[in-house]
Amino acid sequence: MTMPLIGSDALSYAEALPPDWPGSFWAHIFFWVILLILFITVIVLLFTWLERRWLGRLQIRPGPNRAGPFGLLQPIADVFKLLLKEDIVPDKADKWVHWLAPVVALAPALLVFAVIPFQDGALLADLNIGILFILAVSSMVVIGVFMAGWGSSNKYSLLGAMRTIAQEISYEIPLVLSIVGVIIISGTLSLNEMVKAQQDVAFIFVQPLGFIIYITAALAEVARTPFDLIEADSELVAGFHTEYSGMKFALFFLVEYAETLAVAAIATTLFLGGWQGPFLPPWMWFIIKLFAVFMFIIWVRGTLPRLRIDQVMGFAWKFLLPLALINVVITGVEVLAWPDAPLLALGIINLVVAAVLVLLMSKLFKLGGGRVPV
């Protein structure tokens, strides 16, 4: 039997197999694991290319354009370069921790994709608690990062790792709360069902504040500008992966982009209507939206400077958390008080509320703190 690797045929093949048929369970798992790993690798390669190209264009330069047409082979060349590099382990490093860290970081980053629907029903495991699974698994990456920072026995790495822990744990909370609004409206925890709930209106219009909080918190989760102080190159050289080279660095690189990919995929699924869309096949819509979110992230990266650690933490606890809580309460009240409201009406109310809240919060925005008397 021929098995096309990607395309709607393959997806429908995967759907066609009933999961309770003996053997097909494993076939399903096997097929999806291979597909997801290929998908992640290819998309990550494309992402690195796109990031450099798009960033280049924002910076009035062409970006990589030598290897292959439009520089498309550049990521492949980079991979080979990284694979051929000497793998350096510092003398004083904790060898085991140093070796294990990239693996520990990589596994959860890949696991997230198990529950992301590429089109209706096309996913590795349609867990009815999909979103909880994502939140639980994605926060495990921190452990790998901290292992890397600790195991390198380098002060820059350690500082970077400490920042990672503080930042990622703080931003979990607004991230989860911003998703709660979506859960309340869609009434389900399964990602596939959530996408189906966005048949008419994407949740970005229903939950504008939720989307803003989600994107901000997600940027912090994956340590992208303006929250990239984990690897702040002008302060910490390269943060937790200062002492990594070769293949292990490549793994961290993969983790970083896989996380970004995951975040973009979740944003797509929860707020942008997932695979919903006219004319094109659903999985293509999914990938288009994925790239749109990613390009937004790059665009932000190309513009903004980075924050300081105490400002980042303050922003999470003083701004995002109250906003997210208010958002949850308002959404809950709306759903209770007006159960069969048209989503668009809710959206308009929420938009006004969001604007007012953001404006009010901006009054609390203080400049110039942060000096510690010594």
Binding site: R57, L58, I60, P62, P69, W299, T303, V358
Partner: protein
């Protein structure tokens, strides 16, 4: 007045600026394929010495702040000074151009218009030496002696301190003028 500030307006403005640049022409060049015309007065990475017009006064050697020019002269039978040995050590030369100005005839020494001294291998810098991996020997490679300093094919005199050469050289490409090359490049490199 709108009583609120710092609600994200500045970020939006900045992002608008970067987005605008997405549509702009890029300003870098694809170097080995796309070469710009250098300034006509460029102090290129070579010095051209003209044996015929040189009066062996050693003004250039005395003007050099780093002592890169070595010139040995002697009186010939006709009581005229002639150059026995002339060398410039390009590993010392800082390309300041001070040797050009004091030259009494004004046409015995020139900066060159060439600016590319890079090669893929160190042996390409000067032919004929293949065993020059140690760095001390490589420095010796940069001492250029006598005839090699003179005009040769591919060398071009710069107009630095030599106004006569000015019109002979191509016009400098200024980034300011956004010349055609940017468009050409865009077509070629996508």
């Amino acid at each position: 007045m709108f009583p609120f500030e710092r609600y994200g307006k500045g970020i939006a403005k900045g992002m608008a600026v970067t987005f605008k640049h997405f549509g702009r022409k890029w300003i870098t060049t694809q170097y080995p394929e796309q070469k710009l015309n250098m300034s006509r007065r460029i102090r290129g990475t070579d010095i051209i010495w003209v044996r015929e017009t040189c009066i062996a006064c050693q003004a250039c050697a005395r003007a050099c702040p780093v002592g890169a020019i070595e010139m040995q002269v002697s009186r010939g039978e006709d009581k005229k000074l002639k150059v026995d040995f002339m060398s410039i050590d390009f590993s010392l030369c800082i390309f300041c151009g001070l040797c050009i100005e004091p030259c009494p005839p004004g046409n015995a020494i020139y900066m060159s218009h060439n600016y590319e001294r890079t090669t893929y291998r160190c042996t390409d810098i000067s032919a004929g030496h293949e065993d020059i991996t140690p760095s001390d020997k490589r420095c010796n490679e940069l001492i250029v002696v006598g005839d090699d300093l003179e005009m040769a094919e591919g060398k071009r005199k710069s107009a630095y301190g030599r106004p006569d050469e000015y019109e002979k050289l191509p016009r400098q490409t200024l980034l300011l003028e956004q010349i055609q090359y940017l468009d050409d490049m865009r077509k070629k490199w996508g």
